[in-house]
């Protein structure tokens, strides 16, 4: 803010020794770039800590209800599209990889490499959301979205489809509890998707700046910290995938 800087110039005259060497992107209240980078990095990690706890509430709920309503969770989990889920896991891991490469390109000042890595990450992020949207659509068609539109009929009277044998039927009260599973499914993947959307928004801003030649002067804290966020979102999915898609696939 301008008010602080106005004084900074005069006040800093007292210890102007190493001041001339400061790069322009060093903010006035830090002693050195190293301090600034470590500070922002630590701040990002603390933010991720809050994210762990944010998802923690839903993981707690998941574990409790999975133990209570295991048959319903198995049956409901089997209605998820394993192909799309696995593909999405691959997509997200790949996007994490391209993001890590992007950080490396920024560190080693490869402009083209950074831009292409970010483009790849951006596209993979969109692909993930696209596949997710297709899965959501399928759930909607099957009346598996919780709320007034929900119906557990398919679990009480399962039908064989596409050459697959019919699932074991559930008792009506247990079948009703598939709604708890789908509530958690939509809450968890929805929150995850929301984080993806926010991430893609920030990513496109970063991409825009990178095409203009930003992050080539050693000031790459933004890229690094965004990378941390993106990898964190990846980690959440790494847990969501087996917990939601892979419950006793054999039965």
């Amino acid at each position: 803010m301008s008010d602080s800087q106005a004084v900074a110039t005069t006040v800093d005259a007292g210890h102007a020794g190493g001041h001339a060497a400061h790069p322009p992107y060093q903010r006035h209240h830090f002693v050195s770039m190293e301090q600034q980078n470590e500070t922002t990095n630590f701040g990002m990690w603390l933010f991720l800590l809050t994210e762990i706890m944010f998802f923690g509430g839903m993981f707690t709920a998941y574990l409790i209800y999975r133990n209570w309503y295991y048959p319903a969770f198995v049956a409901a989990s089997h209605t998820l599209n394993i192909i799309e889920g696995t593909a999405n896991t691959g997509v997200l891991i790949t996007s994490s990889f391209t993001m890590a490469l992007g950080v490396w390109c920024a560190e080693t000042k490869r402009r083209k490499g950074l831009v292409w890595s970010l483009i790849a990450t951006f596209i993979l992020g969109l692909v993930f959301l696209g596949i997710k949207a297709d899965e959501y659509h399928e759930k909607w068609v099957l009346h598996h979205v919780p709320g007034t539109y929900f119906s557990a009929q398919a679990f009480v009277h399962p039908t064989a489809e596409d050459g697959k044998p019919a699932e074991k039927p559930l008792a009506p009260d247990m079948a009703a509890h598939t709604e708890v599973y789908f509530s958690l499914y939509f809450a968890m993947t929805g929150m995850h998707a929301l984080h993806m959307i926010i991430g893609i928004g920030i990513l496109s801003f970063m991409l825009f700046r990178a095409t203009r030649g930003a992050y080539m002067d050693g000031n790459i804290a933004f890229v690094e910290n965004f990378g941390l966020y993106w990898h964190f979102v990846d980690i959440i999915w790494i847990f969501l995938f087996p917990l939601l898609y892979l419950i006793s696939r054999y039965s």
């Binding site: 762990i52 706890m53 891991i93 990889f97 490396w104 054999y250």
Partner: protein, 112 residues
């Protein structure tokens, strides 16, 4: 920890990490392990090994997550403070999950 060096530049007596550039080769190897892990966890879920299914799935997920944290997120090369921060998050998460579940499991034991 060769990459950790104690650096006293006045304002901060804690350990600082020199900024380490991780090579793309490392990223590539981790990436492949993650893909293999994904395939493995899907494959494993089609085998009936009773309660071990959940354990295997969670074990693979934890391994994958650890690799991402250590290498993609550079925690292996980071300061003790970062490691402590990750540990603190994990610890509190486990309290939330563990102590809540403790209530649910002991409810089944009934009255005294």
């Amino acid at each position: 920890m060769a990459d950790l060096q104690t650096e006293h530049h006045g304002h901060e007596p804690e350990q600082h990490s020199e900024h380490k550039v991780v090579s793309p080769k490392v990223y590539g190897v981790i990436f492949l392990i993650l893909l293999v892990g994904t395939a493995l966890t899907v494959w494993a879920s089609y085998w009936d090994v009773g309660p071990w299914n959940a354990a295997i799935a969670l074990g693979i997920a934890c391994t994958k997550a650890t690799l991402v944290v250590l290498f993609f997120m550079h925690v292996k090369y980071s300061s003790k403070l970062t490691k402590l921060t990750v540990g603190a998050g994990l610890f509190t998460f486990l309290i939330l999950v563990g102590m809540s579940l403790a209530d649910y499991f002991t409810r089944a034991w009934g009255q005294w």
